[in-house]
Each structure stands twice: as structure tokens, then as C-alpha cells.
Subunit: 220 residues, 2 copies
């Protein structure tokens, strides 16, 4: 059974999409804001999430980030604003496709189908660096075969850095990518998390290199 989650604050849009979804043999749940969506994702498994960007309470981008931390599910964005193209495809975010409103439900369904098809592809998502194994999909980190006790932020940070290994990343960049794009935060926050990460990586703490005047780098 293929299950979709349709997230939009407009009821009629949800209903149209749902109807087409059922025509294609998909089951679907609905949420009318990001927060509801996140709650549903916590409780259920979905094959694809259709996510509006402009929503009250919790917007699509923020919701997407949270959803992806819970489930490795493809996300298709709905947008009324053509200007957002660039931002839409933060691949780390798991945004697989996007559709501009007003859209053709048929086209949306076709893209959903493709997204699901593509996500089925067995990907070996684990990054291995000697005795350090980072499973991005499973969000677990093994240090010499023992599961490391990392906090969510630490895992996010490590995954991002490992996926961009050998690249010096500024604190600002890390705050943007690992935290939120519009994060009002202190640079030193990154330092603190780096410190904890290093501590928790034990013998592999040296993979995280300080790049003076710049930020940090995962060096493999």
C-alpha cells in the first residue's frame, strides 16, 4: 500500500489532490500545517510527502527539515512563488521535486509516482571512515562497532560535514545548512557542538579539523 501525506492549508487543494491520489490507488492523509504534518510523520510511514511552502504555524521548509529527520521520505514541494526555485532544491533537505501553483493534479501525480519509484532505489547511505561508520538514513553512528551516543544536532552536524568532507565550512554555512536558513544564532554555538562531537567520536575526533579563520572541515 502506497501512502501519501498531503500538506496544505487550503482544504480544496488537499481534496483535489487526495481525489487524484485515490484514482491512482494511493492512500493519503492530510495535514493543514507543518506542525500537523510532523506529528503525522512521527506516527505513520509515508512513501511521499506533498508539502506546501506557505503555511501558518510551521512553514514548508522548516517542516521538511523536521520530517526528514524522522523519516527518509521523498518530499515534493508546492509553491506559489516561482522565485524560490533555487532554494527549493537543497538536496540535503530531501526535496525531490517541486510544482508551481496552480498545478495540474495529473502532473503532480506523475511526479509523485516518479519520486516514489526513485526513492525505492536501494542506496547505500552509510559513510565509512575506518572504524567510524555514519549511517545517514538510519541516523546512527558507530565508533569501532559501538553505537555512539550522539544528540540529534550532533548527528546532523556530523552527517553534513561528512557529506561535504574535505571542504572547509564556515560557521555561518553550517548554521545555515544544519540549523535553519534564517537562524538568528551565535557562531560559538557551532563550536560547542563541534566540541561535543569530537568528544563523542573518541578516537576519531581528528576527522574534524579546525580551519582557522574559516570554520571546520571533515577530513577523510
Amino acid at each position: 500500500m502506497v501512502r501519501l501525506l498531503i500538506v496544505d492549508d487550503e482544504k480544496n487543494i488537499r481534496e483535489v489532490v487526495r481525489e487524484y491520489a485515490s484514482l491512482n490507488g494511493y492512500e493519503s492523509d492530510e495535514a493543514e500545517n507543518g506542525l500537523e504534518a510532523v506529528e503525522l510523520v512521527k506516527a505513520n510511514r509515508y512513501d511521499c510527502v506533498i508539502l506546501d511552502i506557505m503555511m501558518p504555524i510551521l512553514d514548508g521548509f522548516s517542516a521538511c527539515k523536521q520530517i526528514r529527520q524522522i523519516q527518509d521520505v521523498p518530499v515534493i514541494m508546492l509553491s506559489a512563488r516561482q522565485e524560490e526555485y533555487d532554494k527549493l532544491f537543497g538536496f540535503e533537505l530531501g526535496v525531490v521535486d517541486y510544482v508551481i501553483k496552480p498545478f495540474s493534479p495529473k502532473e503532480l501525480m506523475a511526479r509523485v509516482k516518479v519520486a516514489i519509484e526513485r526513492s525505492k532505489k536501494p542506496e547505500n547511505n552509510s559513510l565509512e571512515f575506518g572504524g567510524l561508520v555514519i549511517d545517514a538514513a538510519g541516523r546512527t553512528v558507530m565508533v569501532d562497532g559501538v553505537k555512539a551516543n550522539l544528540t540529534p544536532k550532533e548527528i546532523d552536524l556530523l552527517i553534513y560535514m561528512a557529506e561535504h568532507r574535505n571542504t572547509a565550512l564556515s560557521r555561518t554555512k553550517l548554521l545555515e545548512e544544519v540549523w535553519n536558513y534564517d537562524y538568528f544564532g551565535d557562531d560559538r554555538t557551532v563550536d560547542t557542538h563541534i566540541k561535543m562531537l569530537r568528544h563523542n567520536l573518541g578516537p576519531y575526533r581528528d576527522y574534524i579539523v579546525t580551519v582557522r579563520g574559516m570554520g571546520y572541515k571533515f577530513e577523510a
Copy 2:
């Protein structure tokens, strides 16, 4: 230089797309049927092919198949018929995305951009000059295989000079570009950093050439 191939039998469509492409800084070639497209792909390298489906002589699907045998290039399909969605995504064919006519050129360009981004192979962007290897992304410099111990300013300076090699750069220019735009500083500052750079580059110190009365030059 990013190069597109635009394939459509309608001249005005090709022209609109081409115009938007050039607005985005892309170079583009045009073909008006599949056969022409295949010939062009044989002769040139492209970063992305935009391919109409319905064309005389050789249709989009067949052309795509042939193109992919010649070059590993992402293909974006243009279709007038919504019904073809399913067939479109034969991934073996390398169809990365599709757009339904009539389409928004902006959207098409956004999808082109994404397609190119995705297809990019992770390349090492390092500048190599014999035994001197400058990795700008990782902010490391190798001298005969050994990591050189450069300070941030030295790395900035070296990267800037290496990226503008064979150009004489005045101290003022360097202060503007490597330091701040409106830096209020002493010329001697540059000299000192050049000195340290040369020292740290060891056998490759001669890449940094003094241009008397002018400034410095990275000569490769």
C-alpha cells in the same frame, strides 16, 4: 562554460529558451529534430539537453536513446501531452526531468540548473602546479605531497593569486581583494605576507614573482 542543447521543431520555442538560457549565463546550440541533435551531441560536449518529444525525422525518445549512448548528459523532456508522463521516466534513458507545454521559461531554467547540479560529479577543484597543489575548497596547500602550514591570510592570498595567475597584481589590488574592499592599510603588509608565503612554499617560492614598480604575480 555551461552548454545546453535545445531541440525543438518550433523555431520560436528554441529562441525563447535560448534567450532565457543566455540570461542565466548558459551558452546554447539549437537543433530542430532528433537527427540534428544526435549529430551535435557527437561533435560537442553539453551539460544538459532540452528535448522535445514530437519532432519530425527522429522523435525525442529515440533521439534521447541515441544521445545517451554518446554522452552521459542529463536530458529534460518537453511534452505537449500530459498523458506521456509515465513513459517519460525511463531512467535508463537518462530523462532527468520533464516540462509540459506551454511552460514557463523560468521554471525550465530552474530545472536545467538543478539537473546540471545533480549530474555534476564531485570533482576535485584543486589547482595544480607541478608539486604544488592548492585546494581552495579544503583550504589546504600541498608542497611535494606535504601539507604546508599556511595561515589564513597566506592561503587567501595564494588562492587569489593562483586564480589570477600570470596577471600582475598591485599591492592595492591585493589589499582590496584579499583584505577588505576599503582596507586602510600599509603596502608593507602585503610584502610581509608575500615573504611568509614564499618561505612556506619552499621550492615553489619562485611561482610568486615580484613585478617591480607594480606588485606581484603568480607565474605558472
